[in-house]
Amino acid sequence: MKSMVGSLRDLSPIVLVIAFFQLFVLQQVPDGIFEIIIGLVFVVLGLTFFIFGLEQGLFPIGESMAHAFARKGSVFWLSVFAFALGFGTTVAEPALIAIADKAATVAAEGGAIEATEAAMHSYAEGLRYTVAVSVGFSILLGVIRILMNWSIQYMIMAGYVIVVVVTSFAPAEIIGIAYDSGGVTTSTITVPLVTALGIGLATAIKGRNPMLDGFGLIAFASLLPIIFVLMYGILV
């Protein structure tokens, strides 16, 4: 029930703004309005089930594991867990699944890849796994940063420089989707679990401020995917 309210709240601003533009600016009703309304109901139902399911099982386990590994686990297992957490939560991100499929369709229409089902499927999967691996590395890097107490500013700036350099070698058609992938990765599943890991780590290490050191994990997760997807574009 609570997750239903949450999904409705996510969707309501979009519906309000679009309804306002349709009624007052465009003064028309979009074609297939019934299909759109059914689709919106599906989106709300889907998100509700999704969040409810996560809260039933995955979130409690993920959070307790994050705390357990942050507190006493060896650095090796902590690193493996950090990577797996980033990878696993991103692979199943619904927005990423949708965008990767969209990117494959666009690439096929534009002639960048073959317009066959198989080629599009493998392109979409390739994108998704590239992003997931890069988020895995991001969380790992973020955890190492917290352990070593490195300064986040310089790492982000170095990341920016790498993005700019790699962009100049990347084919034009991958740049848009690569830059977008940074924002797509971090939503429903990733943020709560990763935040739990960060705060848990910063609490467990003496002399760290959980407020300050717990943040910054998401920042890498929105930067590294850009670099990885650009490289994917260069290689494919």
Binding site: D10, G39, F49, Q56, A84, V91, G110, D213, F215, G216
Partner: protein, 262 residues
């Protein structure tokens, strides 16, 4: 419809397998304890599967379609300048409804974003009250709104995405040196949390629709990139807001000292 649901459901199973493998893998091999509430976890996973399936189908039917329709309607020459205009004769400022729509979507979805509310509460604690929850939320929402509006301008004009992003990076780097140290990691994170699972597909469809209808644009090269703006601009606006609050507080302290001196 039914076959579409079954198809999507089967594909989704493969999408969720990695999470299950990771959780059970760590539980059995590293922690070596049985999973607590195993039944509840498994039922939860079935819910996750059903949820993603419905979400993806609804996305295709509604959100992708809405973004695309809005882009086509707002760029229709008949809507912009009356029925006898040729599409090629339109200038970038003729598309002002597109920018307004992009701004409104960015603003409203960000203000309603739950993960941003959580970040804003933490920011208030970190800053000792200098940053207010509402102030930060409005700062981020303005950042996203201006970002997406600028992104649609980029698609309309067809200028290369990386020029905008590189300028944005330079602004972020300069701000980092002057912003209060405590806010920097928070600002970097705020870029990632603003774009929710619902907003991303709609905004992506808007961009692709624009690139498909504005004359001379290609969906392949110009269509993506709106989300990139939505994740970069909040970083800038959060640091700007933090600097502004710090400046205001410093001035208030100075004033109070002066008055005390008199």
């Amino acid at each position: 419809m039914i076959s579409q649901i079954i198809d999507t459901f089967i594909t989704t199973i493969f999408d969720v397998v990695p999470i299950a493998a990771i959780i059970f893998g760590f539980q059995f091999l590293v922690i070596r304890k049985p999973v607590p509430n195993l039944k509840k976890v498994l039922i939860g996973m079935v819910y996750v599967l059903i949820g993603i399936t419905f979400f993806l189908i609804g996305l295709e039917m509604a959100l992708f379609k809405l973004g695309d329709t809005m882009a086509k309607q707002l760029t229709d020459p008949a809507f912009i300048a009356g029925s006898d205009t040729v599409a090629g004769a339109l200038r970038w400022y003729d598309y002002y409804w597109v920018y307004l729509f992009a701004f409104a979507i960015g603003m409203s979805t960000t203000l309603a974003e739950p993960s941003l509310i959580a970040v804003a509460i933490k920011a208030k604690e970190v800053s000792g009250g200098a940053i207010t929850t509402w102030g930060l939320r409005i700062a981020v929402a303005l950042g996203v709104a201006i970002g997406i509006a600028l992104g649609t301008y980029r698609i309309v004009t067809g200028t290369p995405l990386h020029y905008y992003i590189i300028v944005g990076y330079i602004i972020v780097v300069i701000q980092t040196f002057f912003a209060p140290k405590t806010i920097v990691p928070l600002a970097y994170d705020s870029g990632g949390v603003t774009t929710s699972t619902v907003t991303v597909p709609l905004v992506a469809a808007l961009g692709l629709g624009l690139a498909a209808t504005v004359p001379g644009r290609s969906t392949l090269i110009d269509g993506f990139g709106l989300i990139a703006f939505a994740s970069l601009f909040p970083i800038i606006s959060v640091m700007a807001y933090a600097q502004l609050s710090e400046f205001k507080e410093a001035r208030a302290v100075k004033k109070a000292k002066k008055e005390a001196g008199n």
